[in-house]
């Protein structure tokens, strides 16, 4: 590939005074000055959160109001900064959801450690943990920012669920047991 | 009122001037020189030559002392060594002789009535009067002064120039 040397054109007299260029620049800035501001006045106006935004991790319930987490602890293992602590517990035999067998007794996410990588959401087989749209998080003490289970459910709310895996399982169990008896 | 002003301005001229001569830090000396020159400009105002007062501030305080400060900063000439005691004594003697001589001379001339010691109400030396004088009676000195400025400018450029060596790069003469 041959190198092509471009001769620079000598500047004309008007260009050498730089005045036309300066006036051109002033025109551009004036044009910008007359445009409305492009910024968002943040605390008053909130930005639109796109779908798939990875904000604060939360726990969600299914539409029936049952907690989806089965405390398999996959998220705890995958979490790179080790922000998640789960104390597994069993579901009482006489409960309506006894067929799920396990539920977290305690579920903590340390928001000071969380790096919002989204691995927990990705790894969760139950689609129980989601990084939702909260992007601004603050608190007055370290303890306050270690979110407990109830807090996580409170900010997580309910998300639609297509599978109803445990409902189907219960129905199957019921059908099977009905068949036997 | 005017007497008091005169005394204040005279102090403002003399005391900083002494500090210029004795202060060991050149920056202090330069700042004292400004005070002295501003005092001098104030005395010109007392003498009703307002144009000269302003020129004094403009040229001396505005340009010359700035130039001094610039050079002081450039060559980093802080804290000159203390002069020798002998030099100090000899200079003080010279100062005493000169001042007594001047005061004595003035007093003697006054006694002989050599000077008109009254201030009459003369028309103030306006800028217009200066222009007329400069371009009629003093046109030759005016041109010579301009020529001197040109010579000084060229001289300064020649003195401060760094010579180019054969390769065309700058090199200080050494």
């Amino acid at each position: 590939m041959a190198i092509k040397v471009l001769e620079r054109k000598p500047l004309s007299l008007a260009e050498r005074t730089y005045l036309p260029q300066i006036i051109g620049g002033l025109k551009i800035t004036m044009k910008n000055m007359l445009k409305p501001p492009v910024t968002l006045e943040y605390p008053d106006e909130r930005p639109d959160i796109p779908t798939g935004y990875r904000g604060v991790p939360t726990l969600v319930k299914d539409p029936n109001g049952r907690e989806k987490c089965v405390s398999c602890q996959l998220c705890e293992f995958v979490c790179p900064p080790k922000a998640i602590r789960i104390t597994p517990g069993s579901i009482a035999e006489d409960a309506d959801t006894a067929h799920v067998e396990k539920a977290p007794e305690e579920f903590e996410i340390n928001m000071l450690r969380c790096i919002y990588c989204g691995f927990c959401q990705e790894v969760c087989p139950e689609e129980a943990i989601f990084l939702q749209d909260i992007f601004s998080l603050n608190g007055l003490s370290r303890e306050e920012l270690v979110f407990k289970k109830d807090k996580l459910y409170e900010i997580g709310g309910t998300l639609p669920d297509q599978h109803f895996k445990w409902d189907k399982k219960k129905a199957a169990e019921l059908a099977a047991s009905g068949g036997h008896h | 009122m005017l007497n008091w002003l005169f005394i204040i301005f005279a102090t403002m001229v003399i005391v900083p001037a002494l500090l210029v001569a004795t202060n060991r830090n050149p920056v202090n000396a330069a700042m004292n020189m400004i005070v002295s020159f501003v005092g001098l400009a104030a005395m010109f105002v007392l003498l009703e030559t307002y144009l000269l007062a302003i020129l004094q501030v403009l040229v001396y305080a505005g340009a010359i002392v700035v130039l001094f400060l610039f050079i002081i900063m450039l060559i980093d000439a802080e804290h000159a060594p203390r002069p020798k005691v002998l030099t100090y004594a000899a200079s003080l003697v010279a100062l005493a002789i000169l001042s007594f001589g001047v005061i004595g001379l003035v007093n003697r001339s006054m006694e002989q009535g050599g000077f008109a010691d009254i201030s009459v109400d003369a028309p103030a030396a306006s800028a217009y009067a200066f222009g007329v004088e400069l371009f009629t009676r003093h046109i030759l000195p005016f041109q010579i002064a301009g020529f001197m400025l040109l010579i000084a400018m060229i001289g300064v450029i020649v003195i401060c120039r760094r010579e180019l060596d054969a390769t065309g790069t700058e090199e200080t003469r050494s």
């Binding site: 004036m30 910008n32 000055m33 501001p37 006045e41 | 305080a61 505005g62 340009a63 700035v66």
Partner: protein, 363 residues
Amino acid sequence: MNWTELSILLLKAVAMIGVVMTLAGYSVVLERKVAAWVQGRPGPNRTAPPLLGNIPVVGRLLTRMGLFQLPADGLKFLFKEEPVPGHVKKFYYVLAPVMSFVPAIVIMTVMPFGQFIDSTGQVATLILTDLDIGILFILAVSSLGVYGIILAGWSANSKYPFLGGVRASAQMISYELAMGLSILPVFLWVGGTLSLTSVVEAQAGLQWWILPQWTIIYQPVSALIFLVALFAETNRLPFDMPESETDLVAGFNTEYGAFKFGLFFTGEYAHILLGSAVFVLLFLGGWTLPGLPVLAGVFGAVISVLIFLAKVLFMVFLFMWVRWTLPRFRYDQVMTLGWKRLLPLAVANLIFYTVIIAVIEQF
């Protein structure tokens, strides 16, 4: 002079200082606003004092305009801790902000800002002291402003302020020459006087019912040189060598904080304001509008002052507009522009107008 006269004079002076300093403060707010507008932001629009900000419509409007930002900033400067670094030269360190601030206040005394015509038709200029060599006085005193910067740079006793001080001294000397030479043709043009009032009076009226008599129309080159030199003398952005943030941290005021920095800051804007005022007086017709005679009475006087203020504020706006448009020069480019371009241009301009005026006077 009795006490009543003295106190009236004193009151006038204090009022003038109050108005100019308030305007200087608000030009800081304007600067921030202009910067924001150029960059597509709304600028300072939050600060609201408890009671004033709660007035239904007006309070909200004033808050959005950022008008309460100035007292907030001023109080911040006042109440901050005043650090004095251990390595500075104390006396000059304290003296420097004052030195950069005082010339601006002194220049105010000879700045005419309006005209009052009483019922008998007697014309009086609104000015504290009408000096017949006013412009020389302004040049002389404003040239003292550089000491603030030099002393700040030197007394801080550290390298960046020092470089800022050295640059300031060289730049100020260089551009003062071009500035002085560029205003000479103006005074030749208006005919043998150095008084600012007469310059303004010569610019009133219309030529051929269409052309304003402003000097900028007749002497665009003088106006251009003066404007460029003004930018350099006030250390505004294409020429802010003493304080170039990118290579000198904050230049000469690196070691300053709190109220001393506030003095430097306000002093800079006061210089801009007064420089704009001089430009308006010399080139833009001062308090006159073409084809509009100054009315008699207090009302006419107020109108003339308002016209003058409007022109000055436009010039201040131009300063800011240019600042947020142009990049900074390199130091050697500043020197080249000053000595090799502006100075010869100013000399040629002076000679050209001298010849022209001589020719006009012949016929």
